[in-house]
């Protein structure tokens, strides 16, 4: 059971905390620069194919015989996008049957997504949760607003299973290009993407998203309990890699993982992306309550 009774109670408490926090801080203070579908007029622009015909200003069309789209001022409800990487590489770590410490990455990501979504719903934000698999999002929850959707969110998340490969870069790009309201975007992934993720994230940034990367890694990936002559099999591609692992090489790997995280962090810092390295042996509610707040993701 992914979301048992205790977890749900924790989520409730989180939502409570979040709504209190958001209620005082956000009201009237934050004015979006984004344009949307409110009733307050902002500007016109030329019609391009695919635009909603309902938003064509027929009066202007009658006068100028050219279709214009009426652009309106965005309302101050925040769009929250939670993107969960559901590739096979996320299906890693000790499951619930393994004993005390559960370090399974995808389950961790599911809980984290639930927590973030819960908070967003509770705060009255517009929540979209997408599951990334292959080169595009395969499942989507929302956009939804309001606490009433919390149970549905949980069910949606529970239904997801990690499978296949994820071309993270492409999936992010496809998602960003979709006509959506930009807002906060949380990417929950292990970032094991040989093709990179930079251009995908760039698409988000260029569309005005505020991007946070929650880099989920299992402790087994930081310090692999391996030794000897091994044939490592890639969980996603099945690609083998022969290796003779001894103490020296393990040390080197440990240093290399940390360096990799530093590398990502440096990249994110440069682009004002919030980077949170997450190790799955850290309790997820603690992560949400303390670490994410410290970093300003939750106020």
């Amino acid at each position: 059971m992914l979301f048992d009774e205790t977890t749900l109670r924790k989520l409730d408490r989180l939502a409570l905390v979040a709504s209190q926090v958001r209620a005082g801080v956000m009201k009237g203070e934050r004015r979006s620069t984004k344009r949307g579908t409110s009733i307050e007029f902002a500007d016109y622009r030329d019609y391009v194919r695919g635009d909603d015909l309902r938003r064509v200003d027929w009066n202007v069309f009658a006068r100028l015989e050219r279709p214009f789209i009426k652009l309106l001022e965005e309302e101050e409800d925040l769009a929250v996008h939670v993107l969960v990487d559901a590739s096979r590489s996320m299906d890693f770590g000790a499951g619930p049957e393994a004993g005390a410490a559960e370090t399974h990455k995808f389950r961790y990501a599911q809980r984290l997504a639930a927590a973030l979504g819960y908070i967003a719903l509770a705060a009255g934000d517009r929540l979209t949760v997408s599951v990334l698999q292959g080169a595009e999002p395969v499942a989507q929850f929302g956009p939804s607003r309001g606490r009433g959707h919390a149970l549905r969110l949980i069910r949606f998340l529970e239904d997801q299973t990690p499978a296949g490969t994820t071309v993270l870069d492409e999936a992010l790009r496809v998602y960003a290009l979709g006509a959506r309201r930009p807002g906060l975007a949380f990417l929950l992934s292990d970032l094991f993407a040989p093709d990179g993720y930079e251009s995908g994230l760039g698409q988000f940034l260029s569309r005005g998203y505020e991007v946070s990367v929650l880099h989920v890694l299992a402790p087994e990936e930081l310090d692999p309990p391996l030794a000897g002559d091994l044939k490592l099999i890639d969980a996603e591609t099945g690609a083998p890699q022969d290796i003779t692992l001894d103490g020296g090489l393990r040390d080197l790997y440990r240093r290399r993982v940390l360096a990799w995280r530093d590398e990502i962090e440096a990249y994110c810092l440069k682009r004002r992306i919030t980077y949170v390295p997450v190790t799955t042996d850290l309790a997820w509610d603690e992560l949400v309550l303390s670490q994410l707040r410290e970093r300003g993701l939750i106020k």
């Binding site: 292990d190 044939k231 099999i233 969980a235 003779t244 001894d246």
Partner: protein, 635 residues
């Protein structure tokens, strides 16, 4: 350590393909990881030295390389040079002749040879069999095809040298038989000797090795000693031979009956000899000994290396003649014949006359009626009229020859065909006697032993036949007298060589013969008609023959063998057409150690197999991991 097949070491190049194959195919544990992305990046840095990383600490590969190394070394057939090692069928010919008793190598050459053979036994490889032949006068197989070293050592310990020459031809025949009987591909005949082998030995199958023993050639020997009757008295002749490289001066002491009789100094040139003659010796039976000694009395080391031939013995027996008493009314033929026979001195007595008091060796009764008890002596009875020994019957005239006993020493050379007899007396042949000549009417000549005396009977008057005119008469008389009154119990005027046999014929009543050898050991023998064949003459010295507590005589056994006295060690021997050189002991054997290396390789193979199935590499050994875990938990 050296190699018999060093080219095989080139096979160690096989290590290269093993290394290559090993790098190509390493058995790896498959582990699923979330992504190999990081690992690939990691390995890219270490690609350059990665193969050597793989090799490092890899037990399997190390074992395989070790296995290869061992196999290659084993194929190269390494060997150790050990003093004496032989394998396969090993036939040892151990010289046990007189010259092997030379003491130029302490304690003796034979002991040195024994030590060499013991080393051979110690070095005997597994699966090899050894035949041990002691080469003496009669070669003797001490151990035949034995593979048990204890048996061989015990057999070797039994072997002793004898003062006899060696019969190498018989030994070679035994060795050849042993080689054929061994049925092993490899056979080595090792001759342990000081040389002195005859030059015309037949070739032997198998490889022949020769281990010479002996160091010096110096030896002076009594080459001959004899005492012969001469007109003025017996004459003693001695010859001293020098087989060494330098001229020698020796003192020859002649002892008579154990007492010093004469001593002379003789100069003996190198390789030559010197003679000594003593004339006019006392004409009595006596034992003479000739003993060589060094002129310098302080020379404690002795005269030479072989003391065996420094003393010789001779027995002088004055010629004897048996005394015969002929009781006869007068028989010219008989008297003349007895006078003519050698070794017999006849005396004549008329029938009825009182016999003289002295005893005679032989009584000849001619046409006599027995009146008194017969004397305790041999009897020749011609034409008996009455007797207590047998029943005398009527005269018969049917004297046609029926048969002459064949294969009897008493009828040897006897041709009865031309003999004619007028009449003879019918005598019932007693059970103790055998018929020599038989006519149709009854026996003509018979002989036998009764009451401790030998008796021969001719049943007709010589005057009633033409026998005295025939050639058969001296032949018959000679045979009978030889039977009744043998001149001596045995004849060995020149003594014997060791191992020679002697026939001893005791006098009529003497059934038990005893012979005392030089050490005082007594041999008992029961004499048959043909006498006693004495064969235990393998000690040097004087043997005494005793019968009925009386000494019959004595004979001497001397070495007198130039081949044995010439103790110069031979460096080469000739076998068949091949010259076999001396094999220095240090190089006689090559102890191959490849079986041990192959065994080690097998063990390594087992370990490798075990390791493979454990899938072990050093750090991943479960035992080790457990060890670390325990340590951690303890901490």
């Amino acid at each position: 350590m050296s190699f018999l097949a060093p080219l095989a070491l080139a096979l160690s190049a096989l290590a290269l393909p093993i290394l290559v194959l090993y790098m190509l195919k390493l058995r790896r544990r498959e582990v699923e990881v979330s992504s190999v992305m990081l690992w690939q990046k990691l390995l890219r840095d270490r690609e350059a030295n990665a193969p050597w990383q793989r090799l490092r600490r890899n037990l399997l590969l190390l074992l395989q390389l070790l296995l290869l190394a061992l196999l290659v070394v084993a194929l190269a057939r390494p060997f150790l040079r050990v003093p004496v090692v032989a394998s396969g069928a090993v036939i040892i010919l151990l010289d046990a002749s007189a010259s092997m008793q030379a003491t130029d190598i302490a304690p003796s050459r034979f002991e040195a040879a024994r030590a060499a053979v013991r080393q051979l036994i110690d070095g005997l490889t597994a699966g090899s069999r050894m035949t041990l032949i002691r080469v003496g006068l009669q070669p003797e197989v001490l151990a035949a095809g034995a593979d048990d070293k204890e048996t061989l050592r015990a057999a070797l310990a039994r072997a002793e040298a004898a003062p006899t020459p060696a019969d190498w031809e018989a030994a070679f025949a035994l060795a050849a038989g042993a080689v054929r009987g061994a049925r092993l591909d490899e056979s080595i005949v090792v001759i342990v000797s000081d040389g002195g082998l005859p030059d015309d030995l037949p070739p032997l199958p198998g490889e022949i090795r020769y281990v010479p023993v002996g160091a010096v050639a110096d030896n002076v020997a009594v080459a001959a000693l004899s005492v012969r009757p001469a007109p003025g008295g017996p004459q003693l002749f001695a010859r001293v031979a020098n087989y060494g490289d330098g001229d020698r001066t020796v003192i020859v002491s002649i002892l008579q009956g154990g007492q010093l009789f004469s001593a002379q100094q003789l100069d003996v040139p190198a390789g030559g000899s010197a003679d000594l003659v003593l004339a006019d010796l006392p004409d009595a039976a006596s034992v003479y000994a000739a003993r060589l000694s060094a002129p310098d009395a302080d020379e404690a080391a002795g005269l030479d290396a072989l003391p065996l031939d420094d003393t010789a013995w001779a027995v002088y027996q004055p010629p004897t003649s048996g005394r015969a008493l002929v009781i006869s009314p007068g028989n010219l033929f008989l008297e003349q014949m007895l006078t003519a026979l050698p070794g017999l001195q006849p005396f004549r007595l008329l029938p009825g006359a009182a016999p003289p008091d002295e005893a005679f060796d032989l009584y000849v009764l001619d046409s006599v009626t027995q009146t008194a008890a017969l004397p305790e002596a041999e009897l020749l009875w011609v034409n008996p009229l009455s007797s207590t020994l047998f029943t005398v019957g009527e005269v018969f005239t049917n004297t046609q020859l029926r048969r002459v006993a064949p294969d009897d020493p008493l009828t040897r050379y006897l041709d009865w065909g031309a003999v004619h007899i007028l009449q003879a007396r019918r005598v019932e042949v007693p059970t103790w006697a055998r018929v020599l000549v038989e006519a149709e009417g009854g026996p003509l000549v018979f002989a036998g032993e009764t009451g401790g005396r030998r008796v021969a009977v001719i049943t007709f008057r010589l005057q009633d036949s033409d026998l005295p005119l025939q050639l058969a008469f001296p032949v018959l008389m000679s045979n009978l007298i030889e039977y009744l009154a043998p001149a001596q119990a045995f004849s060995a005027p020149d003594g014997l060589r060791p191992g020679q046999t002697l026939t001893i014929k005791p006098h009529g009543g003497d059934r038990a013969i005893a012979i005392d050898d030089p050490d005082g050991e007594r041999f008992q023998a029961a004499a048959t008609e043909a006498g006693v064949l004495f064969t235990d003459s393998d000690k040097l010295g004087v043997y005494t023959v005793v019968s009925n507590q009386a000494v019959l005589g004595a004979f001497a056994v001397n070495l007198f063998d130039p081949a044995e006295s010439a103790i110069r060690p031979q460096l080469n021997i000739r076998v068949g057409r091949a010259e076999v050189g001396a094999t220095p002991q240090a190089e006689i054997g090559q102890f191959e150690i490849w079986p041990w290396i192959a065994a080690a390789a097998f063990v390594i193979l087992l370990i490798e197999w075990w390791t493979y199935h454990r899938g072990a590499t050093l750090p991943a050994l479960p035992g080790w991991r457990g060890l670390f875990k325990r340590k951690k938990s303890a901490a």
